[in-house]
């Protein structure tokens, strides 16, 4: 006779994910509809913020590389990336400069797809972008349907000022973690703070706990 665990996993493999309900757990009461994290206001614009000139990368030379802690590289060209299975996530964005934008529509490749066959013992990720920008986050925050390499926004090719040709999208953290012009991710055993994290911003950046600056 199958154990409960085996039943759940076999259902998942059949394409239906059955969540494991914890009896009697309710969590905090929460309002229906869109919720603003503390200290944020809603915008209908899509502000452009930058730490440097907009890189111009041509698609013939564009690559995305995941490098493990052992130095093993997994690379995709533009043609290879755009041939992978896509998802069309609809997500809310929260920028540390206090604006939030609801229901933004993207198309991209899930990091679960890109990471699935990679052998690693790493717990951290350092994201690199064309132009030199970096940002860091725990590897688990890239998994489980939480992150994409996005190359279309609102039905059109992602514009350079918003990070095109492709950017990282990790909407559960402040938007500075969603590195524009993404070029690669290093998987690391130790955490290495990135561009803003070393300059006073929070190492993790959870908008729901208002982790804007170091020490928050």
């Amino acid at each position: 006779m199958a154990t409960v665990a085996e039943l759940v996993w076999s259902q998942a493999e059949g394409g239906i994910i059955v969540p494991v309900i914890s009896r009697g757990f309710h969590g905090r009461p929460r309002p229906a509809g869109h919720k603003l994290p503390p200290g944020q206001y809603e915008t209908r614009d899509f502000p452009v913020l930058s730490a440097g000139p907009t890189p111009r990368v041509d698609l013939d030379s564009w690559t995305f590389t995941i490098k493990t802690e052992a130095g093993v590289k997994h690379s995709w060209t533009w043609a290879q990336l755009t041939a992978l299975p896509v998802e069309d996530p609809v997500v809310d964005l929260h920028c540390v400069t206090k604006w939030s934008k609801f229901e933004t529509r993207w198309r991209g490749v899930s990091l679960d797809v890109l990471l699935q066959d990679i052998e690693t013992a790493a717990d951290y990720a350092l994201v690199h972008a064309y132009g030199g920008y970096t940002t860091n986050l725990p590897l688990v925050d890239l998994l489980d349907g939480q992150a994409w390499i996005a190359y279309k926004y609102d039905g059109a090719d992602l514009a350079p000022q918003h990070g095109g040709p492709a950017r990282l999208l990790v909407p559960h953290l402040y938007l500075w973690k969603s590195a524009k012009w993404v070029r690669g991710i290093d998987l690391l055993v130790r955490d290495v703070p990135g561009f803003w994290e070393t300059a006073g911003y929070n190492n993790y950046g959870d908008p729901w706990r208002e982790q804007r600056y170091q020490g928050d």
Partner: protein, 95 residues
């Protein structure tokens, strides 16, 4: 890198540093001379290419584009990162 900044390039010049850095430095920083740790070019901070002010002020070397200065104004502290600057030369008397 183009010699003439366009709006699209998204930066302004280092005079934009004067206000924010006035909180930190006693002198007007735009006449301070900074030396880039990347290409060793020296020049007044007024010539730097400044991006921001959000999420922070980022000032880059006009020759090699390296980040020379980062300023983040958090709630209780201002964070100033100068790792891309080898040195600052500050004029002593500003009559």
């Amino acid at each position: 890198m183009s010699a003439t900044p366009t709006v699209e390039d998204g930066y302004v010049d280092g005079n934009a540093l004067a206000g924010p850095l006035a909180e930190i430095f006693a002198v007007d920083v735009t006449s301070v001379v900074g030396c880039c740790s990347g290409c060793r070019t020296s020049g007044p901070l007024a010539r730097l290419r400044v991006y921001g002010p959000a999420p922070g002020l980022v000032a880059r070397c006009p020759e090699c584009d390296q980040v020379m200065l980062r300023l983040v104004q958090a709630e209780t502290d201002a964070w100033l990162d100068l790792r891309g600057t080898l040195s600052l030369r500050i004029p002593r008397s500003q009559a």
